[in-house]
């Protein structure tokens, strides 16, 4: 066999493998069947009036999901906003509120209660967007959106480029301190699919956090989202976030 013949065979193999390996598109019917296969669309509801900033949710989340307790990263956190009469907006989230808020000192400032116009706590977590920019930018397909609308990360496939972390307008992503792959809130995928609620929802004593199925019209969370005035965070990015808030304020970032 001469060289040219050999190269031709290699070339043929390349074309063949390419056809099978790379460009396997699903037939439209197949794809549609996959999309519609789920009758669940998980959504989250946060009532900022009820939240007291105890941080039990953050503690539970870190322990449940194996994020090193003292590492300064977290899948969920609680922010405190203190809006003063002079127009100043103070906001902080010490340790992501893992230990709650036990001091009136905000952003290093001692606040006189008489100066406060309004003040409240806002829990944050992954918005499990309908149009997740993090999934869009992943170069290797390590992060993806499941049929139930949850965005997950494949720890065996993530290369750790950090592009998804950059793409998220909500700052919910980080590198796992042990596995060093992109890490994020999964709505406790392992719990909600086995009849349990998320660790943060369970740990919350005040019902400030709830999770529900948007495709079930009788779901209490769905009813609130459909019939009451709720807001989402940063909708200007077109990400279609699926964490809904009651009592959101214009000062919330």
């Amino acid at each position: 066999m001469n060289r040219r013949k050999f190269l031709k065979i290699i070339g043929g193999m390349a074309a063949g493998a390419g056809a099978i390996g790379t460009f396997r598109f699903l037939a439209p019917g197949e794809a549609e069947a996959l999309i519609k296969s789920s009758n669940i669309r998980w959504a989250f509801l946060v009532d900022t009036y009820k939240c007291v900033g105890c941080g039990m949710c953050v503690k539970a989340c870190k322990l449940e999901n194996g994020i090193p307790y003292d590492a300064p990263v977290t899948r969920t956190w609680v922010e405190r906003y203190v809006i003063l009469k002079d127009g100043d907006v103070l906001a902080d989230t010490p340790k992501g509120a893992r230990d709650g808020f036990t001091s009136p000192v905000t952003e290093g400032r001692q606040v006189n209660p008489a100066d406060i116009d309004k003040a409240f706590f806002v829990p944050k977590l992954c918005n499990q967007c309908d149009k997740p920019p993090c999934v869009q930018v992943c170069p290797v397909g390590a992060t993806y959106r499941t049929a139930q609308g949850i965005v997950l990360v494949d720890r065996t496939w993530c290369i750790g480029c950090g592009y998804c972390i950059m793409a998220c307008p909500y700052g919910v992503r980080f590198f796992h301190p042990v596995y060093h792959t992109a890490e994020k809130c999964t709505f406790c995928y392992h719990r909600i699919n086995h009849g349990m609620t998320t660790a943060c929802v369970q740990a919350c004593p005040f019902d400030a956090r709830k999770i529900g199925n948007l495709k079930d019209p009788n779901d209490p969370v769905t009813k609130v989202i459909m019939t009451e005035r709720v807001a989402v965070l940063k909708d200007e990015y077109g990400t279609k976030p699926q964490v809904y808030y009651i009592g959101l304020d214009r000062n919330v970032r």
């Binding site: 322990l63 709650g100 808020f101 036990t102 706590f121 720890r155 065996t156």
Partner: protein
């Protein structure tokens, strides 16, 4: 054929190498799924990894199975809204693993709710608490006098 086509064969060889490597390394369930080309690349099998992740928080009903006395005590108190595991830590496979839970009895835990933060529009404002907790028996754990399962004055230890 002209020698100028030689590089094309090198290109084909490189492509072949990539495709062969791809066939070996990429999991068979990897592909374009669900919402088409735009957001679809991933390993479908990975969902199973997250489904199989072990839950650690079991909820108060699990605790009730062995500790019905404690369960009914707290459920009849103003602390009924608080899950056992918020203070006792995640049950995991207790009593097999861990045989004993590490209970957080610290002042700091109680103060998460019982430091008074006078915040209008927040429920925190309604909770009973200290404006200045350091003035009330500093350095002593709250639970040495107060019973968290019955946090009323009658339940004092």
């Amino acid at each position: 054929m002209s020698h100028t086509w030689k590089p094309v064969f090198v290109v084909l060889a490189i492509l072949a190498a990539i495709f062969i490597a791809r066939t070996i390394i990429v999991p068979p369930k990897f592909g374009i799924w669900e919402s088409g080309y735009m957001y679809g690349w991933h390993n479908k099998a990975n969902e199973q990894f997250w489904l199989n992740y072990k839950a650690k928080y079991k909820g108060r009903d699990y605790c009730n199975g062995c500790h019905p006395d404690k369960y009914s005590a707290i459920m009849n108190s103003p602390h009924a809204i608080i899950q056992c595991e918020d203070c006792h830590g995640p049950a995991i496979d207790h009593p097999d693993n861990p045989p004993k839970l590490a209970i957080d009895k610290s002042r700091a835990l109680c103060l998460r709710c019982h430091v008074k933060l006078p915040y209008p529009t927040s429920h925190r404002n309604d909770l009973p608490g200290f404006l200045n907790p350091d003035e009330h028996n500093p350095g002593i754990e709250c639970v040495s006098c107060h019973n968290p399962h019955s946090p009323v004055l009658g339940g004092m230890r």
